[in-house]
Symmetry: C2
Subunit: 192 residues, 2 copies
């Protein structure tokens, strides 16, 4: 019987794809084993537990999205920079719902520190460079951006913006207004 050639990384990647297809809640060791044509306990040579698998997916998604943000952020500043990183998150949440949801998974402080999370924070700071904020204000602004972008992505993904009246503005319209708002807001912070 030939071997499947599994490794922790291949498993995490396949799990991420699976989570995107069926939802992060439906991500199971059984489904993963089925996908590789392998018995479930075989996965334990590479993964440790279901929780461990989820964490691996989260780390993978964090790295991946950090790369995307870094690429989108190259050579832009101000409102364009805001649109770049916000757009990445919005697109990532829409195209990779499973990976995005994994991103929101609470991690232990140790593994969080070793993840791409800090890189995201650095990127957010870079995104704000144009606004010339003080250190403390920059921290506040990073949190504000995180909250707004992630809240927006979450509500959007949950379909909360489709429950409204039929004549309501589209989510894309609101998105532009939100970017405008954040831009003017940060611009006013700098002269506080």
């Amino acid at each position: 019987m030939p071997r499947a050639g599994l490794t922790g990384d291949r498993l995490a990647e396949a799990a991420a794809d699976l989570a995107d297809e069926v939802g992060v809640d439906a991500l199971s060791l059984s489904a993963l084993a089925r996908h590789f044509g392998v018995a479930v306990p075989s996965l334990y040579a590479h993964v440790g537990s279901l929780r461990d698998l989820q964490v691996r997916v989260a780390l993978l998604a964090l790295e991946e999205s950090a790369d995307l943000v870094a690429a989108a952020l190259a050579g832009v500043s101000g409102r364009d920079a805001l649109a770049a990183v916000g757009g990445v998150w919005r697109g990532y949440a829409r195209e990779h719902p499973g990976r995005y949801a994994a991103t929101r998974l609470p991690l232990d402080t140790a593994v969080a520190a070793a993840s791409a999370g800090p890189r995201h924070a650095d990127l957010a700071r870079a995104c704000l460079r144009d606004y010339a904020l003080s250190d403390a204000d920059e921290t506040h602004a990073v949190r504000l951006l995180g909250a707004t972008f992630h809240g927006y992505a979450a509500l959007d993904a949950a379909g909360a913006f489709g429950h409204g009246a039929p004549g309501a503005p589209t989510s894309d319209d609101t998105w532009e207004r939100v970017l405008d708002g954040l831009d003017t807001l940060l611009r006013s912070w700098e002269t506080r």
Copy 2:
């Protein structure tokens, strides 16, 4: 053998408490049945399925939080109104993590329409009355508030604001800055 006197509502309430204690992911029919000293299948006379139970918890939490928002919103306007509804969400997410998480559960459009969700939207509109926005802008603003508040609550609950450097500002500080920011932002929208 005396009866436990179960009903759908009592079950939902106990389930909400349980979710607050052990987390919404660990909310199970087994644990609920154990809590009432009852066999698991007995619950199916009142509940339908695990998913149904989760939906009931979500609806309960939506009603409860809408009541809280309505109470906090009485007699205030402007930045105070923002602080009122935002504070309710932040507090609710902290004190009732299970209920809050249930609140984020995607609902069918029909049950969403019959839930307290629209009431939340109305309350948000009331919160914004002081800013005298156009209808479309009000819709944008409602979404912005929702995204910001829920994003903040989620990141806060996930401990994302604790991963930073030791000298970083506290989450309460940032919260005030966010409220300030939203206030000035909406005030600038009104004269657009």
